[in-house]
């Protein structure tokens, strides 16, 4: 089939506003927990107050006696799951905690669940269970358990990669640094906490629950409840943020579904903010040691990046931070290695730029340290180590406009005015000023997705794919792509998504959703147009009669012969002649293996930061953050810009704010609320500027889309930390950088 539809029409590239924007700002958008089916019960679970040990006693009688309480589920008394929760029915399955036994493996683990007629009764019932524990000393710090070697830190990422001869690289180095950086546990904390409303009808299950991966979640639930996947209908029209935490079914969701099954009534469960710190994933802590060397000209002889990363005592997922050093700088030798440490914490999971965020933070700081040691400007240092092909493998990049990003970002920022020496820039009032930069780098994966496009008799269309819009605007960008695939204006295309009965839209993760679901939608549009054209080619009354072999294009609701806009026919006329009320096309998208093998595919960028540090009080404020990014074709500049901004703000958060703190005795997180688990507020964010550099990339996928969701974090953390160093001369190697770190005598 001739590839008729990689050309772009009028919708892609437009800054369309979010389709869901009005519904959200007016409160009309229905989130999962807004559902209230008839006869619904409320579920509240008891989170473990210790991190390691066992539950010795629960006062079930008292909880049951509380007015309104319907059922108390405990490890000793709950209905059985059909599927073993230790199984891995999908590629992204984790062992989950569903009251298997009375062992406590992390603070916040569900240890009992109360069902009641009201949320208040369920909450009080849960409190009345007054658990008693036999506690053991929890292990929550990276030194609390012995490290182990890792083959696969998670989701197929390699545990160790070596290119070239690192020892030779060290030996050849004229300048070298060996530095250790630490990153803390971080929690996603989407605004919408995890929630489910579960309703059974015989062996059919309907779920209202936010999901970043509808089909995969259905498969996982189906496995656990022993029903066919098509018996699960998952509705996820809106998500109040996901960031990776809503891709994988969690224990509390499964317990609520189980409770609904047993009770024979719909059940709602919504996590409290505090409950978000435990069973729904987080970014695990890391300790990263980087040994970097360069020659007299500042050319890297080696990047050797080792990571010790935390996982839970019962499952494997590590921040594969060291992998951030692969594929970016042209070092003579590259080594990335990981070790894990098992702690009494909930299983970490993918959190916005998993691995890359932590790894980039340490790498970009280490690069800055080596640049300083070598007496080279940090940007110049990176340019001297610019990789024209993928280091180690020699594969070409599918596209790489990083040099333009460096140039444009540096110019917009005014980088050339930066003094080399730290602690030399000051405001007239004495405020210390520092400038730092970092390279942004994120892979451009693609998953598999399917879509359907239906052309209707009135010339409009409906496109469908079970994708996920976490607030990033996916549905808007996807609708734009779909409209172009059909050659229709955006307002003639009805877009349906967010329910699992539609074609599988794949996973909204890895910054690959627009490329993947978009690719499927575009292909579905192309398929519909091809079918329509072939139909017209057989209609003697159609201008397209006999045009079957030429291939078709569509524009403004008309099909025409490829390359000949003059010879065409209107959608509606073709369907009318055929007496059809609609015509359906379908499409799939995934990346050909050959492209995956032959090309290195990444988004790139350069981030420049200016920070102000009070000279006595050491309070830190980011004054300017300029990021220039090359991420393939930008479908919607407005949404892409806000994704990149959001990523950069996340980087700011990583650099200066976020950290979950465990009580050393109980293992509980002491700052499990949004007052004390700090993220930046508006006043922390100023002077934010995003530039995008266009790339034509014919390898990454047919649409040339690379993804913008996560890359903004990378580069930004390092840029800010490097700016803090430049302002103060103090190198803080533990994130977040705090006032007390700068106060301490040098």
């Amino acid at each position: 089939m001739p590839d008729t539809h990689t050309r772009f029409g009028s919708s892609s590239g437009q800054p369309a506003t979010r389709r869901d924007g009005l519904a959200k700002v007016t409160g009309a958008a229905t989130f999962a927990a807004d559902n209230r089916p008839e006869g619904m019960l409320h579920a509240v679970y008891v989170p473990a107050a210790i991190a390691r040990g066992r539950v010795a006693h629960l006062d079930v009688e008292r909880a049951r006696a509380h007015p309104g309480v319907v059922r108390v589920m405990t490890p000793a008394d709950h209905p059985a799951l059909a599927g073993d929760p230790d199984d891995k029915p999908t590629r992204f399955s984790f062992r989950i905690e569903v009251l298997q036994d009375d062992t406590v493996r992390y603070a916040g683990q569900p240890i009992a669940l109360v069902l009641a007629e009201t949320i208040e009764a369920a909450t009080e019932g849960a409190r009345l269970l007054s658990p008693r524990y036999e506690a053991e000393a929890p292990r929550t710090g990276l030194d609390d358990n012995a490290p182990f070697d890792v083959e696969e830190p998670g989701f197929g990422a390699p545990g160790e990669t070596v290119h070239g001869d690192p020892e030779a690289g060290h030996a050849a180095a004229i300048h070298a640094v060996e530095v250790t950086y630490e990153t803390p546990p971080q929690y996603h904390n989407a605004m919408e906490t995890h929630a489910v409303v579960a309703e059974w009808d015989g062996d059919r299950l309907t779920l209202d629950t936010p999901s970043q991966a509808l089909a995969m979640s259905c498969a996982a639930y189906a496995h656990l409840f022993g029903i066919p996947a098509e018996n699960v209908v998952l509705r996820s029209p809106y998500l109040g943020g996901g960031f990776g935490s809503k891709a994988i079914p969690s224990g509390p969701m499964v317990l609520a579904i189980l409770a609904a099954q047993e009770a024979g009534r719909p059940v709602k469960l919504m996590l409290t903010r505090r409950q978000m710190f435990g069973p729904v994933g987080h970014r695990g802590a890391t300790r990263q040691t980087l040994r970097l060397g360069c020659d007299a000209d500042g050319r890297l002889t080696v990047i050797d990046h080792e990571t010790l990363a935390a996982t839970s005592s019962f499952e494997m997922f590590l921040e594969s931070a060291s992998n951030a050093s692969q594929g970016l700088y042209a070092a003579g030798a590259l080594r990335s290695a990981h070790q894990g440490v098992r702690l009494d914490v909930g299983t970490p999971g993918p959190m916005r730029a998993p691995g890359e965020a932590s790894g980039s933070a340490a790498l970009e700081c280490a690069m800055d340290e080596l640049a300083h040691a070598a007496g080279i400007d940090p940007l110049d240092f990176r340019l001297r180590n610019y990789a024209e092909t993928e280091p180690g493998t020699g594969r070409p990049y599918s596209s790489k406009a990083l040099r333009d990003c460096y140039d444009r970002g540096a110019e917009a920022f005014g980088w050339s005015g930066r003094p080399m020496a730290p602690a030399t820039m000051r405001d007239p009032d004495g405020t210390r000023i520092g400038w730092g930069m970092g390279t942004a780098f994120f892979p451009s994966p693609m998953f598999a997705a399917e879509a359907r496009a239906t052309l209707r008799a009135d010339g409009s269309a409906m496109v469908e794919t079970a994708g996920a819009d976490m607030g990033q605007g996916a549905w808007t960008a996807l609708a734009q792509i779909a409209a172009d695939g059909l050659g229709l204006p955006l307002d003639r295309v009805e877009f349906r998504s967010g329910v699992s009965t539609l074609p599988d839209g794949g996973v909204a993760g890895g910054s690959g959703h627009t490329a993947t679901a978009g690719g499927a939608l575009h292909a579905a549009g192309g398929d519909a147009i091809r079918r329509l054209g072939e139909l017209a080619a057989e209609q003697p009354d159609s201008p397209l009669f006999g045009a079957g072999n030429a291939g078709f294009e569509a524009r403004e609701g008309r099909v025409h012969v490829a390359g000949d806009a003059g010879r065409g026919d209107a959608f509606a006329d073709i369907l009318a002649r055929a007496g059809m009320s609609e015509l359906v096309g379908s499409g799939r998208a995934s990346r050909p293996d050959a492209d995956t093998r032959d090309y290195a595919m990444n988004s790139h960028g350069a981030v420049f930061a200016e920070v102000a540090v009070d000279p006595d009080l050491c309070q830190i404020r980011v004054r300017r953050l300029v990021g220039a990014f090359a991420a393939g074709r930008i479908i919607n500049p407005r949404l892409a810009e806000s994704q990149l901004m959001g990523g950069m703000i996340w980087g700011l958060s990583f650099a200066l704010h976020e950290e979950a703190r465990h009580d050393p005795r109980t293992g509980r997180i002491v700052n499990s609320d949004l007052a004390e688990y700090r993220v930046p507020v508006n006043a922390d964010v100023q002077g934010l500027q995003v530039l995008t550099v266009h790339e034509d990339d014919t390898h990454v996928n047919a649409l040339g889309i690379k993804g913008v969701g996560e890359i903004g974090i990378t580069g930004s953390v390092g840029a800010i930390a490097n700016a803090v160093w430049h302002a103060t001369g103090r190198r803080v190697r533990r994130f977040p950088i705090r006032i007390e770190d700068l106060l301490a005598p040098a």
Partner: protein, 350 residues
């Protein structure tokens, strides 16, 4: 949460009569309700006092002082012209606290009575002498590093987190309360208790008493031209202080005729040291003098665990606040009130 009675009296007398053991007064609810949700507070009865008449006003008293009703919302008070004219640093402190939404809800009475932010206090699963006398203090050797550096005891290392109370203490404000035995006034400086052996006795207010107003003496206005509140925090806004200071100077002929200095977030009460204030009397303002005053204000400071850095930070904060006060109260409220990054100015009434 635990079931409770809810009462909304229409008069002060009805409110007082509605009290019985286990009652909590409800103001804006921004602190009480949070604590009820975690289970740290579990009253049997909640008496909503926000509908009591006459307590939502700021009045100028005959002597020129201010009487601020207990129900005045924090954001209204921060923009009150009579307050801004007399005690701009009180407004600055208010505006540096919490968020716009919270300040819209929070009342004067509730702010005075807000509990410590010690996370072990807020978590009913933890041992806490302040919440449950005799259970111990999990904050010791815990993971909270914003604990007290002054006036703490083996029983409790909590701080009072209020920004508002810090300049109030500096300006000798007093709390007007009503109880079954009638009215009385409690000086703000003695309103909050240091923990000693009985940290649960958090304030001088008896449980059956209600705060009805706050009195700001007429003399506060003498400092209006040289009064600042400075707050160091881990983000630019919407964070409790790591250390804060209210500094006020009455200047005469280029010399300090009277000085006030109170520190916040360093102890279970706003911290004032007479010696620190008196050593500045008659002196010309300069950095060395302020450093000495700050030194004196921190005398006796001791870390409660790993928070020794707070001593240094509080000292620097005090010295800087004095310097800012000496430089003069800005004509308009800084865009970032009480922030070290607040030089840009916008109209206080914007």
């Amino acid at each position: 949460m635990k079931p409770f009675d809810f009462v909304r009296p229409a008069t002060l007398d009805e409110a007082l009569a509605a009290w019985r053991p286990g009652t909590a007064w409800l103001g804006g609810g921004t602190n009480l309700v949070d604590l009820m949700k975690t289970g740290a507070m579990a009253p049997d009865r909640v008496v909503d006092v926000t509908h009591l008449p006459g307590l939502d006003r700021v009045e100028v008293a005959a002597d020129g002082g201010l009487r601020i009703g207990a129900l005045v919302r924090n954001s209204d008070l921060a923009r009150d012209a009579d307050l801004l004219a007399r005690a701009p640093m009180v407004a600055e402190a208010l505006l540096s606290g919490a968020s716009g939404q919270l300040r819209n809800a929070a009342t004067v009475g509730g702010n005075l009575m807000q509990r410590t932010r010690c996370p072990y206090f807020m978590d009913p699963e933890s041992a806490c002498n302040r919440r449950d006398p005799g259970t111990g203090c999990d904050a010791r050797d815990g993971a909270w590093d914003n604990a007290a550096i002054l006036g703490h005891s083996p029983a409790c290392i909590a701080t009072n987190p209020s920004d508002f109370c810090v300049p109030l203490a500096a300006l000798d404000a007093a709390v007007e309360v009503r109880g079954p035995d009638g009215a009385r006034e409690i000086p703000l400086s003695g309103f909050h208790h240091l923990p000693g052996d009985t940290p649960a006795a958090q304030t001088e207010l008896r449980p059956d008493e209600l705060i009805v107003a706050l009195r700001l003496p007429a003399g506060a206005a003498d400092f209006a031209a040289h009064a600042r509140y400075l707050k160091v925090r881990e983000r630019t806004s919407y964070a409790f202080a790591l250390a804060s200071a209210a500094a006020a100077l009455r200047m005469e002929g280029g010399r300090i005729a009277e000085a006030r200095l109170a520190l916040g977030s360093v102890a279970a009460k706003p911290w004032r040291v007479a010696e620190a204030e008196s050593l500045m009397l008659g002196q010309a303002p300069d950095e060395a003098l302020f450093a000495r005053a700050a030194e004196a204000a921190l005398s006796g400071a001791a870390p409660a665990g790993g928070n020794g850095w707070k001593i240094d930070l509080a000292r620097r904060t005090a010295a800087r606040a004095l310097g800012l006060a000496a430089a003069g109260t800005p004509a308009r409220m800084p865009a970032l009130p009480a922030s070290p990054f607040g030089p840009a100015e916008v109209p206080a009434h914007a």
